[in-house]
Amino acid sequence: MASDSRGAELRLEGITKTYGEAAAVRGLDLIVHPGEFVTLLGASGSGKTTTLMMLAGFTSPTEGRISIGGRDVTSLPPGKRDLGVVFQNYALFPHLTVYQNLAFPLEMRRVDTRSIAKEVAHALEMVQLSDKGGSSPRELSGGQQQRIALARAIIFKPQALLMDEPLGALDKNLREHMQVEIKRLQKSLGATVVFVTHDQEEALTMSDRIAVMQDGGIAQIASAREVYEEPANRWVAGFIGQSNFLPGRITERDEDAYVVLLDSGARVRARSKPGRSIGDRVTGVLRPESIRIAGASPSAGTTGVTGEVTDALYFGHTIKYTVKLADGTGLIAQTTRAGHESAPPVGTRVAMNWGPDSVWLVDGETLQ
């Protein structure tokens, strides 16, 4: 497809959706730039699907404004919004053939039969299902149905693509394959994509930016790397990946880092967003894979703590240890394969250390 189908900008301003007393989405602002892949990531009930449905026009917001490519579409029906939607269960028309499914959006736009034939053939080729035009959707495998649904959503060159957990029903291998395929397609089309998922790995691998949704709002919107390495708050850190939370108080600050006295008694170096001051209650976020388990005592020059191994879970490519510190808090440490040879058995005392930039600070608990 030509590069003139570059995606449009999507803009949600002050969007609120209430059902009776309960608010599914409240005061949400989101700008998706042209050609950008943004994922709405959240648990069920976080408002991610409601947000997508409002963008698509299937439900209308109680308050706020939606615009696509600079045009206010808040009160436009879905058919006039010119958006491709891919549904979780694919929503292929079971009474039509694959060909007729792909032709549907073109017929609605009164494209002539000959152009339809050309476009459909092209789309089938693009998703590598050229021989399936005459099949019924029922005769296709899950992955094939998914590809047809995708082809149907982009065949009319919509301004943007909305995807509601499109890979939810596929098994793991197929899922990873489709992730790559969708990403490749999105890049080659330059399409704007809003992708809804509850699968954090999917969000991390596919997105330009991830909007982590919590209770009908966006808790953090940033690149995958930023969301993972510099979570905005404790909730985000806990939702994406596994984290150790180390409560403490700031005691010193140098140019680009803080020193925190942990409640367990250790003193560690930590990074943070600017603006914290000495004496603040904070929580250090430390990812399990940042922790190295060293010998029996901490080696000089690195930050670290000592504790006793209480649990070891073998995952093949990694081993996860639970290590109990002096004050009773448990730390989870994940070692890579390379560290397996010296794997300490349960019950041994070990020293753990981590790189100087491994601890990230979020606001401390206010209620305890």
Binding site: G79, N89, A91, H95, M108
Partner: protein, 292 residues
Amino acid sequence: MMTSSLGTAAVVRSPRWKANPSWLLLTPALVLLGVFFIYPLCGMLLRSLVDPGLTWKHYARFMSDPSYLHVLRGTFEIAASVTAATIVLGYPLAYFLSQARPRLAGLMMILVIVPYFTSVLVRTYAWMILLGTEGVFNQLLLGSGLIGQPMKLMYTRTGVLIGMTYILLPYMVLALYSVMRGVDTNLLNAAESLGASRVRAFWRVFFPLSRPGLAAGGLLVFILSLGFFVTPALMGSEQDSMISMLIDSQVETYFDWGFASALATILLVCTLILFAIYERVVGLQRLFEAKP
């Protein structure tokens, strides 16, 4: 070699019903069907052909008298009209119910079914009161000045159609509703997102997917109409009788069991032919599928 010896081993296994005793669960139903359906059916067939030796005379009588053929034709016409009327009235209702919230739909479904708690006889008498020359319907129309003469509704085909449509409508609604409820709302959303207006989404997606319901409801109502007795007997006329009334009069008035059996057999055969055509066009399987 290995596979062939395995193959023979499989063949000498015990028969299916022994291996899987759940087939025994069918026994009560089969016995009931045999004693109370298959056996009397054969009896009826025999009676229509034996008097006391083998004879075609009952069938010859039916074929030779145009008034009997007229009754058969009338029966099919009435059944077709009732089917059409229940579709026209039932489809929008079933559509509304299928799109309504589950609670409201459940409540309204009860309203659809509630008339079944009363007997057909009572409901037919109620219509007779409503539609009579002095009935509520005529009184209202006369009173409002819309008509000058009372309309003749009782003992006409119109009256029979009104009564039968009323009684058979719930069958149509239930058949349509069960299929419509199974149509994925996402399909309509998808159609709309692909550029269809609501009306087009309905005709291009919802309606085709609801057709199995139309087929099931249509067949059900049509076949029930063919053998309908109470309503046409009470609300219809002698001149425009249905085949069930003819059978009734042969048994009750003329004690001609042979001819009555022949009439019943003809009705059965017509129904079966219809069934066969239906199977060819729509496919019986779709009748029993919950989803389109």
